[in-house]
């Protein structure tokens, strides 16, 4: 077993646990914003995309990388913005009560 794999697996297993534990008891009220947030987080592929786009090793990789960065960016911007908007709504409807 390569050390890379070993390290990776540790981190993966632990992070999976954290994910489970953290979400396990979430209020149903927050399902939708949570989905948007995890959506935004899944755009972490941007890290890989930037490297591929920036390395400029081959044209193919640069093009693919650039497209990937753009795609990730849509995801990031959109995901966070919408989450934020949703949460703001919560507030408003709270205040609007009689």
């Amino acid at each position: 077993m390569s050390p890379e794999l070993e390290q990776g697996l540790y981190v993966f297993v632990l992070a999976t646990f954290v994910g489970f534990e953290v979400i396990r008891r979430v209020s149903p009220l927050l399902h939708t914003p949570l989905m948007s947030l995890t959506n935004a987080i899944s755009a972490i592929a941007v890290v890989g995309s930037i490297v591929v786009a920036g390395e400029q090793k081959t044209t193919l990789s640069t093009v693919l990388g650039t497209v990937a960065v753009a795609c990730s960016m849509i995801n990031i911007v959109g995901g966070y913005l919408i989450t934020y908007r949703m949460l703001r709504m919560f507030r408003k409807s709270d205040r609007g009560k009689p």
Partner: protein, 460 residues
């Protein structure tokens, strides 16, 4: 020099994501959660930009601008379109992962070790299938595509075959990375499988499916992390993978659907999904948890007690519910139908026992004009007295009886044990309305659960 800090920056980003999820899962800290999530992403992007491998920022900058220009308006879609938007946004995220995988493959192959190749194949498979599946989900939600499940004979065999071939290509590539011609096969089959996965799933299940696709996208990112030996990617991907999975499980439970049914929906639904679904009279059911969430989000609630509340002796629990909602500054009133229960004043006796203030009871004539303004009508074991057939169905034995117009409220929650009829022995069309959610169970137990959810569900 500065790049020596990159691991620390990544560590910070990973911690931020964890905190973001944690905080977002309870109402009072949710906003903080978003902010720390944004910070985490900023750290991740910033850290990456510092990396020495990057030789030119030109394309990156261009891509940033393009992404933002498309992303912002997408986030401004109306709130009702959130599921679609999420699906679309997913498609982009997954595509990014798949494209990076592709680029890496052509950069490294055939000098690629087995471990890396395995992770890479997984990344590409998940990335592409999530891409098309998300697009399909978007189409169904936006009603560009037909929302009803499309099924055909042996669908499951075909689907499994496609997935099998795709996985097989991946496996072969691991063994012999030089067979580069197999890579496009893998990619295309993955794209195809994504489409086929969604075709047989109905529009109503899409939110759950999206959450699941989220999980897949996360796993793709984690796989990318293994390829690039990047812990941040692994953590964020794993977080996403697990939280997406558990979230879809929770959502299924809240919709009273079996998770496997949705997860393997493509294969499981073939039999039942076929044919008339959609034309049939459907009933939507909800759990106590979902009911609690709906009540929590309301400003005006009208409770309609009936004989079932009496049978369940749920009056004290109803009192607790009243207390909990009132404390949350939600306006709660009780609408007592003249013939609810089995004797004149049956409901009054019970509500008085539970000491519900008299001024919270409203007469039928007065309350009927208020239902359209009510966010929720909570029907507790009442049936005949809420049956709209009394208004229009001349053949119904209760035709002409004045009823409580609960069907005019924005959402109707009906608590009863089953679909059985009430005293008059007739079906109630109320239960088939779009705005109606059935919460099945004994009224005392259900209301008790709702109260518990309201108390604990706040998140802390």
């Amino acid at each position: 020099m500065i790049e020596r800090a990159i691991p620390l920056i990544y560590l910070g980003a990973a911690a931020s994501f964890v905190l973001a999820l944690k905080w977002l899962s309870s109402v009072p800290t949710a906003r903080r959660g978003v902010i720390v999530g944004i910070a985490g992403m900023a750290l991740a992007v910033g850290g990456t930009l510092l990396r020495p491998e990057i030789v030119s920022y030109k394309w990156i900058a261009a891509a940033f601008v393009a992404g933002t220009v498309i992303g912002v308006p997408m986030a401004m879609m109306p709130m009702t379109a959130v599921p679609q938007r999420t699906a679309l946004s997913h498609a982009f995220g997954a595509l990014a992962a798949a494209l990076v995988g592709t680029a890496e493959f052509y950069l490294q192959a055939p000098r690629i070790d087995r471990f890396t190749m395995g992770a890479l194949a997984l990344e590409v498979l998940l990335g592409f299938l999530t891409f098309t599946a998300s697009l399909m989900a978007f189409g169904k939600l936006q009603e560009i595509l037909p929302t009803r499940p499309i099924t055909y004979r042996n669908q499951n065999v075909v689907n499994l075959a496609v997935l099998g071939v795709a996985a097989g290509s991946g496996a072969y590539l691991v063994a012999r990375p030089e067979a580069a011609w197999l890579f496009p096969v893998l990619a295309v089959l993955s794209l195809l499988f994504g489409v086929m996965l969604i075709v047989p799933i109905g529009g109503a299940d899409m939110p759950t499916v999206i959450s699941l696709l989220n999980s897949y996208a996360g796993l793709a990112a984690a796989a990318m992390g293994f390829v690039l030996d990047n812990k941040l990617l692994i953590i964020a991907g794993a977080l996403d993978g697990s939280s997406g999975l558990i979230l879809s499980v929770i959502m299924c439970r809240a919709m009273n659907r079996s998770f496997t049914n949705v997860l393997f929906g493509a294969f499981g639904q073939v039999q039942e999904g076929a044919g008339t679904a959609g034309e049939q009279r459907t009933v939507r059911s909800a759990t106590a948890g979902e009911a609690a969430a709906i009540l929590q989000a309301a400003s005006r609630v009208i409770v309609v007690p009936g004989y079932g509340m009496a049978v369940a002796q749920a009056q004290h629990k109803v009192r607790e519910l009243f207390d909990a909602l009132t404390k949350a500054e939600i306006d709660v009133r009780f609408a007592i139908h003249p013939v609810a229960g089995r004797m004149p004043g049956h409901m009054n006796v019970l509500l008085a026992e539970a000491d519900i203030p008299y001024d919270r009871l409203v007469e039928m004539e007065d309350v009927n004009s208020e239902f359209p303004q009510a966010d929720v009508a909570l029907v507790l074991g009442a049936n005949d007295v809420t049956n709209p057939a009394a208004r229009h169905d001349r053949s119904s034995p209760i035709y002409g009886m004045p009823i409580l117009d609960v069907d005019r409220a924005r959402t109707v929650l009906v608590v009863k044990r089953s679909m059985s009829p009430g005293f008059a022995g007739i079906e109630n069309e109320l239960y088939h309305l779009d705005r109606t959610l059935m919460v099945f169970g004994d009224a005392k137990a259900v209301v008790g659960n709702i109260v518990r959810e309201l108390a604990g569900g706040g998140g802390n």
